[in-house]
């Protein structure tokens, strides 16, 4: 496997996603002789994983089963070990499109953090693009490079351990796009400007607080950026449910009751209990993510 290319069969050294059901999953590094414990029992890598097809059902020792999935940046995002707060796929999607990323794009990013966005960027710009990512925390920078190597994308990325606000991205007039996820992005706008190609490019800054956005927007205007837009994207997920609502007893006879109310709604979804109207609904989750951050986009011409 690789994060930038599909392969059919699982092999030694791969990262695979073990899917337990109900959206619960975790990543494994596949190793000959290795073992992984799940609530359904143990998975023996040599016998159960290596040589099997991605997407296969694997029976565990206690008789339960799991699916083993090919890694993607989206699955990685919900499974990776957190070293920082991370960006999730909803924001990542908008960032990728609004930065106009595609195969061959050269991108600068800071900070690398836990590498959630980095993996998505690498997927999009491969096989001919490059990611220059800057992380001032040495341990995080090293850990990120380790992961890129394990995921076979290290040829597409350069990790620099430096302070982007002081020292910039380490490249000049090379990038098609710059992404900032740091506490004081306004201090890095000048470096972003220098990193972008002379003929122009796109910038995005992610900030949780509106005060950060205001300072960033001012800095962007000062550096001649145009098309400055601030957006926020929210994900609403729905549970698909069959809902039964009791039909009130208004004193009608039992026969008329059954004939009246539930007939059209329940026509095709099996017989509902008497006195009940049934329908399918997309029910919002009781809680949803209300705010991740503001995304400020701008163009350098």
């Amino acid at each position: 496997m690789s994060f930038v290319e599909y392969e059919d069969l699982i092999k030694d050294g791969d990262t695979a996603i073990v899917f337990l059901g109900h959206g619960s999953m975790f990543p494994v590094r596949v190793q000959a002789g290795g073992q992984t414990q799940t609530k359904y029992g143990v998975i023996r890598h040599s016998a159960d994983l290596i040589g099997k097809r991605f997407g296969a059902k694997v029976t565990c020792s206690k008789g339960g089963w799991v699916y083993v999935l090919h890694p993607t940046p989206e699955l990685w995002t919900v499974n990776l070990p957190h070293r920082t707060q991370i960006l999730y796929s909803t924001d990542i999607s908008l960032i990728t499109m609004m930065l106009e990323l595609k195969p061959g794009s050269v991108v600068c990013e800071s900070g690398t953090g836990s590498g959630s966005l980095s993996h998505a960027l690498l997927r999009t710009i491969a096989p001919t693009g490059h990611l220059y990512t800057v992380e001032f925390h040495q341990q995080r920078a090293e850990k990120a490079m380790e992961e890129f190597r394990a995921h076979k994308v290290d040829h597409l990325v350069t990790v620099r351990n430096q302070d982007v606000c002081k020292n910039g991205f380490g490249v000049t007039h090379a990038a098609d796009a710059v992404f900032l996820d740091i506490p004081s992005p306004w201090e890095a706008v000048g470096h972003a400007n220098a990193a972008l190609r002379a003929e122009g490019g796109r910038l995005c800054s992610f900030s949780p607080c509106i005060e950060q956005v205001q300072r960033t927007c001012r800095a962007l205007a000062e550096h001649g950026f145009t098309e400055v837009h601030t957006l926020e994207i929210l994900l609403q997920a729905y549970n698909v449910r069959t809902v039964n609502l009791p039909v009130p007893d208004l004193g009608k006879g039992a026969a008329a009751d059954a004939a009246d109310a539930p007939s059209d709604a329940a026509a095709d979804s099996g017989p509902p209990p008497p006195g009940v109207a049934q329908f399918k609904s997309g029910v919002p989750l009781r809680e949803m993510v209300g705010h991740t951050g503001y995304l400020t986009f701008a163009t350098k011409n």
């Binding site: 001919t128 509106i210 601030t230």
Partner: protein
Amino acid sequence: MAGPAERPPPHRVRDGDFVVLRRQDVFKAVQVQRRKKVIFEKQWFYLDNVIGHSYGTTFEVSSGGSLLPKKKVEETSTETKEAGTDNRNIIDDGKSQKLTQDDIKALKDKGIKGEEIVQQLIENSTTFRDKTEFAQDKYIKKKKKKYEAIITVVKPSTRILSIMYYAREPGKINHLRYDTLAQMLTLGNIRAGNKMIVVETCAGLVLGAVMERMGGFGSIIQMYPGGGPVRAATACFGFPESFFNSLYEFPLSKVDSLLAGTFSSETLPSEPKDSVSVEESNGALDEKQTSLQEAEEESIAEVVVDSNDAEDQETMEVGTEDPEYKDSKDKTQEKQRKQEEQRKREIEASALLNEKNADGLIVASRFHPTPLLLSLLEFVAPSRPFVVYCQYKEPLLECYTKLREKGGVINLKVSETWLRSYQVLPDRSHPKLIMSGGGGYLLSGITVVTDNLKADGSTLESQKTEEPSSKKRRVQETQC
């Protein structure tokens, strides 16, 4: 693999380029042609002058319809100008502007620059000095928007074209908002090297977005309804020729025969393209849909690359000059050649589909998604993502249920995104007044290997696949 190793095209506008014009937040896609009149935001002009300038250059419309590059104007610094603190003494008597409508029209007719008209309006506004600084700012902005016609020429991209279509022609793309399209590309793990199946009736916008993300690497099989795929929006991207080498198309009406193993190239039409669907139609409904689609195709072409008409007429006139019999003979030959080509591509596409190892499925159409999914997922390899768009939530709920019954998919999710934009100005930051009410819904999931117990009969299989779903439902309910 024939990679598009060529360097990105030069950053200057060339004759024949597909470009997008931007005025404020309004976009319009056009093809650059010399001496071609373009109408945009109630103004007409020629694009001759934009040729040779770099993308992102700003132009001003001058009399006679020529565009002149505009240098960056230093914002007239609002030094220590006079301004009021509140509006307690500002009365709307309708007489604050001393210039009459006729005066303003006269100024415009004289061809006076927009900036100067704005300046005159300010000077002739008796209340301007009493307005607060913010109100003055707003006033100037509003007037500038109206009188200063500044047009920027930008390079087409999914970002720009999807924003443009959502604003100008949402009906043509089934109200697919651009952030929803962005989710689709990410959830579908669209990238270079994939073998993708795409079904869309979004004028070719979704196809173009997928093509951009794949950068010419890998292959795309577009499944089309009716007589042929609509690609009006795809054309606006201005993709290099090489991107089309690995773009295949296959008619949806032949999917069943392909899955049943009865597909053969001989079932291909020997009639002209347009009549295909009429021939195969079961009734008036199909015909109606086809004509609807054709009408759609036409109007899109008109909207997006309009004022091409003159060109078309010219070529038509040239055509009629030829002796009639020769003309029709040429046309028949041309038609046959095209049909042969189409037949060849269709066979290639069917072979690619028959491998049943596609890396993903993207659906965004006006059709009910359930039958599309149930059939087309057969062509997708295990452990691959799929994404279905629908303008309405209910069909996706049904599709979700049917997929769960059928099995072979996990991690099913129905979702929607909300997009909110902000005004960010010193002391005046807030969400914009208007936000979009709906950009459609998505159903996404991942394919897995289906239980190969077909020999044991379908009842056993369906029991087995239903088991986890009922288990899942129970758990979800207890969680809540």
